[in-house]
């Protein structure tokens, strides 16, 4: 993911996650919403939202 795309994703993430405040329970914002946005960004880059963190040397994509 290049820097421009990362900024675009971050803008999108903050708006989706922080515009909806929780009024009860653990944490002020919804963790499930955050998880959803992260998973979709991961899927865009690797093709699989459940990709493992440890990099596969042959995968050939950059996560930086």
């Amino acid at each position: 993911m290049d820097v421009d795309k990362a900024i675009e994703n971050y803008d999108d993430l903050t708006e989706k996650v922080f515009s909806d405040q929780k009024w009860w329970g653990d944490g002020k914002f919804k963790a499930t919403k955050l998880e959803g946005v992260i998973k979709s960004a991961v899927k865009d880059v690797t093709g699989d939202s459940e990709s493992p963190l440890v990099e596969n040397e042959e995968a050939g994509f950059s996560r930086t």
Partner: protein
């Protein structure tokens, strides 16, 4: 979970047993700041994680320790530390609606973070004192204090403050040396020679860190991505491109 011992999420195979998880779990675990998001349990043992932001926002010394384990005998090119902006301690202390919503212990933690952030930076400065153009820290000094993490609608002000910071004469000079150090690193010492045993327990503070070594093009990046850090990196990259043309 022991809050005093940091858990490191790595994208490469470490020598010790790795934390087995997916990318999204690692991202979630490093965002689980108490009172912001609930904690997450991951891995085989369902280990709970909270964000290191409450005590370890500046991982500069920690990343040096990691680099020492992995590449101790190699020469150090440079270390670039990027802050999320200087917090205004006085504005945190002001009573009012803010304090009614955010518990007092979080406010004292924020105050502690700012102090410890600068302490880690001071410690890094000392370690690199005899090595010119090796350690660089960028941190927007004014304007960010009124902006909270959740204020997504203020991202354009974050960008404006960052651009203002980058225009300053001393920052511009620092960037020139930084770009030169990344493009043509001159190894002066090995990581082991830097000597990084003392004070490691006291690591605390703010942000994203890029580590650039003369022998590797690969960057080690912490998973914290906050708005200021992102916009600074973007500016640096644009700036690097401009200067290399």
């Amino acid at each position: 979970m022991n809050g005093n011992i940091p858990a490191l999420f790595r994208t490469y195979q470490p020598r010790e047993t790795p934390i087995e998880c997916t990318i999204w779990e690692a991202a979630r675990a490093t965002s689980a700041a108490p009172t912001v998001f609930k904690r997450i349990e991951i891995g085989r043992g369902k280990q709970p994680f909270i964000d290191g932001g409450m005590g370890r926002n500046n991982p500069s010394l920690l990343v040096l320790e990691e680099a020492k384990k992995l590449f101790g005998a190699r020469q150090l090119g440079c270390l670039v530390s990027i802050g999320t902006g200087q917090a205004d301690i006085i504005s945190i202390q002001k009573p009012g609606l803010f304090q009614q919503i955010i518990p007092t212990n979080i406010i004292s933690a924020l105050r502690l973070m700012t102090t410890d952030c600068e302490e880690t930076h001071e410690e890094a400065l000392k370690r690199f004192a005899s090595l010119p153009n090796t350690y660089f820290r960028l941190n927007v000094e004014y304007g960010m204090e009124g902006i909270q993490l959740s204020e997504w609608e203020k991202l354009s002000s974050v960008e404006a403050h960052t651009v203002q910071y980058m225009k300053r004469e001393e920052v511009d000079k620092k960037l020139t040396s930084l770009v030169a150090a990344i493009r043509a690193p001159r190894g002066q010492l090995t990581i082991e020679q830097l000597g990084m045993d003392k004070h490691l327990v006291n690591l605390n503070c703010d942000l994203t860190l890029l580590l650039s070594f003369s022998w590797a093009s690969k960057q080690i990046c912490t998973t914290h991505q906050k708005e200021q850090a992102l916009s600074i990196s973007s500016c640096i990259i644009c700036w690097t491109n401009r200067h290399s043309q």
